[in-house]
Symmetry: C2
Subunit: 212 residues, 2 copies
């Protein structure tokens, strides 16, 4: 990012995948162009916010016309780095790890799963989604030979910090952590902590409110 560009607020970044999703839907529906106003109605946000958000990246529209759906879709994908060919490994081939490995949704968005690791002898050697589960003992070896951008951590909470550190030491630049604890690294390592229990708790709060 050059110095004269404003830093894009995190809240804007978090909205990009949602735009991406809606634009993907529009493409499927063969919609060629859309105005910020029409999109704002679909997405239940203000047109002003949409235009502000896009303008952090220079603006992708045309006065009097609106936005070319496919162009905008591709631009947002580019901003999000979906064309960078990021590779992932999953560490922890338990139920959640296996679910994510066989999910396919990540691959569809341009992320390539290149390895799955576990420490359970019974699991090592089994094949998930065409990939043979390796022993975590081979983690460093594997990472030395293969560039891996993102580590998906589905190991038990007790193992997550050590595992994360091993990945980072081997050059992994981003971590997606599913353990019920928070990972924190220097800001050169990107971390997303996914706490499904937290989501369930906020849902519970909302339900409670609706009762009153």
């Amino acid at each position: 990012m050059s110095d004269n560009e404003k830093k894009v607020p995190a809240v804007v970044i978090k909205r990009l995948p949602r735009y991406y999703r809606y634009l993907g839907e529009l493409i499927k529906q063969d919609v060629k162009r859309i105005s910020s106003n029409a999109l704002s109605i679909k997405m239940n946000v203000t047109a002003s916010q949409i235009r502000q958000d896009f303008n952090y990246f220079g603006g992708f529209g045309q006065q009097g016309y609106g936005y070319n759906v496919e162009y905008l879709y591709n631009e947002i994908g580019e901003i999000l780095g979906l064309n960078d060919g990021d590779t992932t490994v999953i560490v922890g081939a338990g139920n959640l790890g296996r679910a994510i490995a066989s999910h396919g949704a990540f691959e569809k968005r341009g992320f390539k799963l290149v390895g799955i690791f576990d420490n359970n002898e019974k699991v090592i050697g089994t094949v998930i989604n065409g990939i043979e589960v390796m022993s975590v003992d081979n983690l460093e070896d594997f990472l030395a030979k293969n560039r891996v951008d993102i580590g998906i951590l589905t190991v038990p909470k007790a193992a997550v910090v050590e595992t994360a550190e091993r990945l980072v030491k081997c050059g992994v630049k981003g971590l997606m952590n599913f353990a019920y604890t928070e990972l924190n690294f220097d800001k050169d390592i990107a971390v997303e902590n996914v706490h499904l229990s937290d989501t369930l708790m906020t849902l519970s709060y909302k339900i409670k409110q609706n009762k009153n």
Copy 2:
């Protein structure tokens, strides 16, 4: 909520589970009390924000002393409705549904899984975490006989809207949706859309930024 109470901003609600998690850790470490300042350092937020947040609910501390960790933990749990004995069903016993069913993390926070449903003959009748998978055809029957608060949707995207509507029609008050689409109901139905791909995309963005 009574009229003279300020509505608690969504951003504050989303922080509550995080407080809950950190306070749970402190209890495990046998910490009996903590000041907003000490907690702010642990959690990497401002002490001011912590005090403001708690004061939306009336304040749980004592001047000159700080906060009683266990008391605060329980109060936040109460606010989040973790003591309400909310029941859940999982619809969609694919990889992700099974992973969540056998996860155990939700049960630990006071949510009780009472049913799992699928439409695949091969899956119906199998037992996950002590619960026999039922046919989705029995959904209405089951919901008529059992109070269910929360529906966890791990069905394919194509089925999610119809499934959600069936649940809501039978009195389910909250939905946790894992499909790559957004559910929207009247505001008396609480919805949390969990988009793991979105999280991966923001992670990808951050990695891209760190490269530059």
